[in-house]
Symmetry: C2
């Protein structure tokens, strides 16, 4: 029943820990373990060394080792069973570590994104937008309209609203970078978001800028994003060409 009972490997060598570093010990251990797993040096299903031995061999305490392992358990790379041990789980279930934006995704997929900024101005927020951003109705927000290209073809028409006091945006910044990258650089790290994804036929204006036929299917997405403290960062209302794009989403419970 038990998978390959390969002899527990030696995951991390003691010399690799740096006690003078500002990086916490548990994090150094976790990072090294993660590398070994991602490089396949500890195969899927294999058991890692038990906590007690690992701690002793590395010269750290058991709680420190435990915390390192726990860190990887929480992001779904390892599973622990009392009385059995700790095993590496299949890579597919691992949780994404950051909230990504379309631009980041396209860059990562080498699809050569380009952004055309259609509008950038400060306007009073419509009620739905103000409610989403938890601002008093009528508060002014930075309003952005962008056309996103990938591989030379139009892909999405994007509308965003951002609280004015959060960040000063310039057209050339938006042309060269994703919105989330700019927010992060300004110290506002998106951490939670709710998205509503739907579909509808394209109207005439959308069909024109997206080079689709009128009536063809579009994916729609409205999103509100918050930082770790629950502060609303961004409201977005976007349409994507369904013929060229789909959402890939990882969900994990617990």
């Amino acid at each position: 029943m038990t998978p390959e009972l390969s002899p527990p490997r030696s995951p991390v060598r003691p010399g690799e820990l740096d006690r003078t570093s500002p990086v916490p010990l548990y994090f150094q251990v976790a990072t090294r373990l993660q590398e070994l797993i991602e490089n396949g040096e500890i195969g899927v299903g294999a058991r890692i060394e038990n906590e007690v031995d690992l701690a002793e061999r590395l010269g750290v305490s058991r709680p420190t080792t435990r915390r390192a392992i726990q860190y990887l358990v929480e992001r779904g790379m390892l599973v622990r069973k009392r009385g059995v041990g700790t095993q590496v789980v299949h890579p597919k279930v691992r949780r994404p570590v950051e909230l990504t934006s379309l631009y980041d995704d396209l860059v990562a997929a080498d699809r050569k994104p380009r952004t055309e900024v259609l509008a950038l101005r400060v306007v009073p927020a419509p009620d739905t937008v103000a409610d989403a951003l938890e601002l008093p109705r009528g508060t002014e927000v930075t309003w952005i309209e962008r056309l996103r290209y990938a591989g030379g073809e139009p892909l999405a028409l994007m509308h965003n609203a951002i609280p004015v006091d959060l960040i000063r945006l310039a057209v050339h910044d938006l042309a060269d970078h994703g919105l989330y990258e700019l927010l992060r650089r300004a110290g506002h790290v998106p951490r939670n978001a709710t998205q509503v994804i739907g579909a509808r036929p394209a109207n005439a204006g959308e069909a024109r800028v997206l080079q689709e036929k009128r009536g063809s299917s579009l994916l729609t997405m409205t999103r509100t994003a918050w930082d770790a403290g629950g502060r609303p960062l961004e409201y977005g209302s976007h349409v994507y060409r369904a013929s060229r794009y789909s959402f890939e989403i990882s969900v994990s419970a617990g």
Copy 2:
């Protein structure tokens, strides 16, 4: 800048802890804190008592208190800042605790779901399905086709494949319960999933059963779900009427 600096409340009273219970102390503390937060007895933005005092007052060690708080931090209810304290965050950003299925969602929204089972048989898995479920190509799987109604109207056409050795399914079970509920009841708890969401026009057959016009927009979703150990539980390929349904998704990083 700081929100209401209400005096730190007394969140948990010492008498509420039961050291003879098999429920871990840290979990008892966490549960009680969670109740207080959800009941609004500790308001959004309010600071909770600091770790050291709380531990002393409850008669538990600081690590135990810390672990309780950490538990709530990880599910997004609390935020900690070194040198500042621990605050309650806005309810909107809290992470869902379970992977829900369409049926559960409809029940919760009181939209009176009904399910018509169109097919339930064992067939050799197509290659894409076998790959998704990590089975050898050609392995037999349980294949389900269902038509899901809500409020008397057709809503979605659903196709699922499930490893045969996982669960024995009966038509009447599927008619009365969601697939995830049945899986959970059989001891297979879905924990992670990847979904790909897209859109396309309806073909003739889909339009007929869903009572839509041919060519109207449909939402498509393919999903693979795994349990905590990384074992594939289910592959699904579904289409939804875009005019009646949209996906609401919470994403959280870290």
